[in-house]
Every structure is written in C-alpha cells, then in structure tokens.
C-alpha cells in the first residue's frame, strides 16, 4: 500500500520559490482588496478640447464612461485617443505647451474645476502605460508601495495593502519570496502586472490604460486581459488600444475616434457586427487606418 503523500504542498511551495517561472501563477484574487464589488464610479467627459500649442488635437468630445464597465477607445494613429485619455487624469497638461478645456466629471466633481488638487485627481484616476515602467531603484515591494508613498497617503497597514494588491493582480505566487528584489528583474508581462498592482494599491476609482498590452507577448497579453475582466467588477476601466481584437474581447462598449472627434460610441458587439457609421465600418474592416 502506498502511503499518502503528505509533502505535496511543501514541494509546490519550494518549486515556486526558485526561478521566475510563470507556471506558478495564481488567478487574480480581487476579494483580497478592500474595494467592494460594484464600487466603480462613472466618468463623464463634456465639451473637451485639447491643444498642443496651437494644434487643436481634441475637438469637442462628449462621452460617458459607465461605472464598472470597460470602455475601449479605438481609432487610427493620431486620432487623439491617447490625448483624450490623458486629459481625464490631467496628465496632458504636463507636456510643455499643452492645455485642455472642458469638463471631466467624476462623482459630480469636475477635475478641471477651480481649486481641485491635481495630485488628488491622479490618485482617484490611476493610469497604466504602454511600456511597463517599474521604478528601477526600487524593489518589488517598494514599487507597489511607491504609489502610496509618492502620493503621501498615510497608511498604517502598508505591508498588507501591498500584499493585497499583488494578490489582486495574480502576481503573489510568483513574487512572494522575492519581494526585496528589483522590480526590473521580472518578465515584461510580470512587470506590467506589477505596474497595475502599483496603480491599484492606491485604491483609485477609475483605471485608465494606454495600450497596456502593446509591449507584451500574446500569453502575457491574455493574462492582462483576464485581469482587466476581473478589475471591471470593482473599477471603471478605460482602455486605449490599437488592437481591435483586444477591444472586441475586453470591452463592454467601444468608442471610435477620428481626427480628434468621437465618431461612434456603442456596445462592442454592435461596433463589430453592425456599426452605424460608414467610417467605423471602414476602419474595423481594415479598409483604412
């Protein structure tokens, strides 16, 4: 009779402790976060205009991003999708000579209003960039904690929040034994999930993503997309993508932009089976762009 193998759990622990293998990945566990389900907040953009110096890049946009949904923004290069998204968390104005006008309302507060602190806006509206950008001088732990430290958020349970964020993005199993190692020692996909963990550690209400999977291989891309699907239940997500298949997979509704204007905004299924505007049809079927 073969005795039951009582060491399997230990063995699995040890095998994940070693190299940076992706096989030990666990599913994203958002219940670890303190954020309730359905806790997302809607964002409304009204009459938005954006300029680079004298160049009029965004020409009057009105969009509503519903809470707890993922909205994709698609369009050809130069149509202004990244610009528009950067206007939402006021990153656009960091570019010399750039300015924005209009209203962006989060929970009845206009982020462009008088007396609104830009750093608070950015804490409530997080952003994930195209190329993963973990801070090279910081460890994995410090990277995730960076959001809290940089924004000056006082937190007495920093360690807990960092661990929760790592669990939420499904990285915990892969990094729990090397939290002190540099953040740049991870693979591309892991780095991007690290950046996402960094963003959600601050507990924002909305997450903006500017082509988050462009620099990742297909498997890493799928993992991030799965994560986005999970994140939807707790945050409102806006994702800019030039990959239409990704928009089709991930988003509940899709916005098509052209030359700084919104051409169509409809449920994703409709945009990809029966778009209303001729230009949308031509773009998604690849007749231009």
């Amino acid at each position: 009779m073969i005795p039951p193998d009582t060491n399997t759990e230990e063995q699995t622990e040890m095998s994940t402790a070693g190299g940076p293998s992706e096989q030990a990945q666990d599913a994203p566990d958002l219940s670890a976060l303190g954020v309730k389900e359905g806790a997302g907040h809607a964002i409304k953009v009204a009459g938005l205009h954006a300029y680079y110096g004298s160049q009029h890049a965004i020409k009057g946009i009105d969009i509503s991003f519903p809470a707890n949904e993922a909205t994709a923004i698609i369009g050809p290069s130069g149509c202004g999708k990244s610009t528009m998204v950067r206007c939402i968390n006021r990153m656009h104005e960091e570019i010399p000579g750039a300015r924005a006008e209009g209203e962006v309302t989060l929970d009845d507060v206009n982020v462009y209003g008088e007396g609104v602190d830009v750093t608070t806006v950015r804490r409530m509206i997080g952003m994930v960039f195209q190329k993963p950008n973990p801070f090279p001088t910081m460890s994995i732990f410090d990277n995730v904690a960076a959001g809290l430290r940089l924004s000056g958020t006082k937190s007495d349970n920093l360690r807990e929040r960092v661990h929760r964020a790592l669990r939420a993005v499904g990285l915990w199993g892969e990094v729990k034994n090397r939290l002190g190692e540099p953040g740049t020692g991870l693979s591309g996909g892991q780095q991007q999930r690290l950046c996402i963990a960094r963003t959600i550690a601050v507990e924002p209400e909305v997450i903006l993503m500017d082509e988050p999977c462009s620099a990742l291989d297909p498997i890493a891309t799928l993992k991030v997309e799965e994560l986005i699907d999970e994140l939807k239940s707790r945050y409102t997500i806006v994702i800019v993508t030039h990959n239409m298949q990704q928009a089709a997979r991930v988003a509940d509704s899709t916005v098509f932009m052209l030359d700084g204007e919104v051409i169509e905004h409809a449920p994703t299924k409709d945009v990809f089976t029966n778009p209303r505007d001729e230009r949308t049809e031509r773009y998604v079927t690849g007749k231009f762009g």
């Binding site: 968390n89 990153m91 960091e94 010399p96 750093t119 608070t120 806006v121 950015r122 804490r123 997080g126 952003m127 960039f129 190329k131 950008n133 801070f135 090279p136 001088t137 960076a146 959001g147 430290r149 940089l150 924004s151 000056g152 950046c195 960094r198 963003t199 601050v202």
Partner: protein, 289 residues
Amino acid sequence: MSLTSFAPIDPRRRRTDKIMRGVLLAGTLIALIPLVLILYYLLHKGLGSWSGSFFTTDPNGNFLGDPGGIRSAILGTLEIVALASLISIPIGIGVALYLTEYGKEARFANVVRYFVDVMTGVPSIVFGLFIYIVLVKSHIGGDFTGWKGSFALSLLMLPIVVRAAEVVLLLVPSALREAALALGAPRWRVITRVVLPTALPGLITGSLLAIARGMGETAPLLFTVSVAFGATSDLGAQMNSLPVQIYNDISSPRDVIIARAWGAALTLVALVLIINLIARAIARRSRVA
C-alpha cells in the same frame, strides 16, 4: 545576384584601407607621446622625493637645510576643494534639476543653459581675479583666505557639475517621471524619490570629475589664497595648497626644492587619478550613465 558573383575586394581599396589605418594609428601614437612623456617625467623626477617625511612634514620656507615636506599643501588642497565641492555640487545639481524638470524649453531656461556653457569656457584666472577684486581687495573677512579660494574654485566647478548633471538627469527615462506623476505625486517628490535616486550614480560620477578638475587649478588660488607655508586648517587664514606649492617651488634655485615640486606634482596627479578611478568604478556599477 548570387553569392558566387561577389567580386573579391579591389586591391586598390585594400591598400587605401591599410594606408588610412596606418595614418590614424600614427596620429594616435603621436598624440600619446606627450602623455607618456609627462607620466615618465613625473615618475622619474617626482618619485624620488616621496618619502615618509614628505607627507608628514610641512614646508618650512628655510633657505638652508631640509626644506620640509608638503603636508600642509595636501591638507590645504583637500580642505579648500572640499568646501568648494560643498558649495558647487548642491547648487550645480539644483540648477540642473531646474533645467530638466521645470525650465525645460522655456526661454529663461535656455538663457541659463547658454550662460552655463559660457562659464565652462571662462579661463580659471578670471574667476580668481573676480574673487580677488570682490572679496580680497575689499578686505571682506580678511585678506587672502582659504574660503575665498574655495569660492573661486566653486565658480569654476559649478558649470561642470551643471553640465554633467543635466546630461545624467536627461537620461532618466521620462516614463518614470510620468509613472510617478500619474500615481499622484507632486513634482518635488517625483524628483526626490524617483529622479534623483535613479540618476545618483551618474551624478556622483559627474561630481567627482568636477572635484578632480578643481584640485588641479592654480590661478584662482594664487589670487585668493596666495602662498603660505605654515600648516593651518583654518579656512579663514591663508592656506597652502598643492598647485600653489608647485608654482612656488619650481622657481627656486635649490635643487632639492625643485625635486619637492616634482613630488608634489606627482602627488596631485595621483590624487586626481584616484578620484577618476573611483568615478569610473561607480559608473560601471550603475545602469544610467
């Protein structure tokens, strides 16, 4: 076109290539000759003076007998340059931070850059004269003093630090700044927590190079600190320094004093070499600059 149709290299081209290589090699050797000669002379003439008492006794200004070592000169150089570094390095890095983080392409920033560039070209004697007229002749805080020499040196070191620091700071990827800003960090925190730590190795390298430069300058010290033989660590008094010591000794009729000059020169070169080696070692261990 197939591989077999590649013609062999034209013999004329081969010859031209060889000639060019030979010319460049010859040029390099010619350029190296003075360098080698300098090193040879330094070692040949200076090594003989090196001894225990050389480094532990002060020059005593006697006309006859043992002229003494160069201890006060070494101490003086170290102290004067230390104070100059304390002044120029923080201010220099500060100016560089202003230029890269706040000023960027603004008109004022460009004006500052222009003036910094001009200052790198100003002959060091001019700095000495400037301090001489403003501080020494006016008898502010004494006549010739060590700290006035530090001031003159810091004017010389400042543009070097600014230039080197700006280069290094620009090498910090803007993606890191963006990531920090998007997390809700005020700009000064972005600088202290992200930009400076990332650029630190390069900043150290640049500072050490400025220090090495400052150690070797004679003219500014002549007009501000003048010459002294006595050992004093009081920056408020006249101090000795290596370059001035050498300048003085080399015109002496006594051979033994001339030999001391060579020994001092060798010491100075050795100090600069050590600093350069440290700077190199730090640069190699870092990823940025």
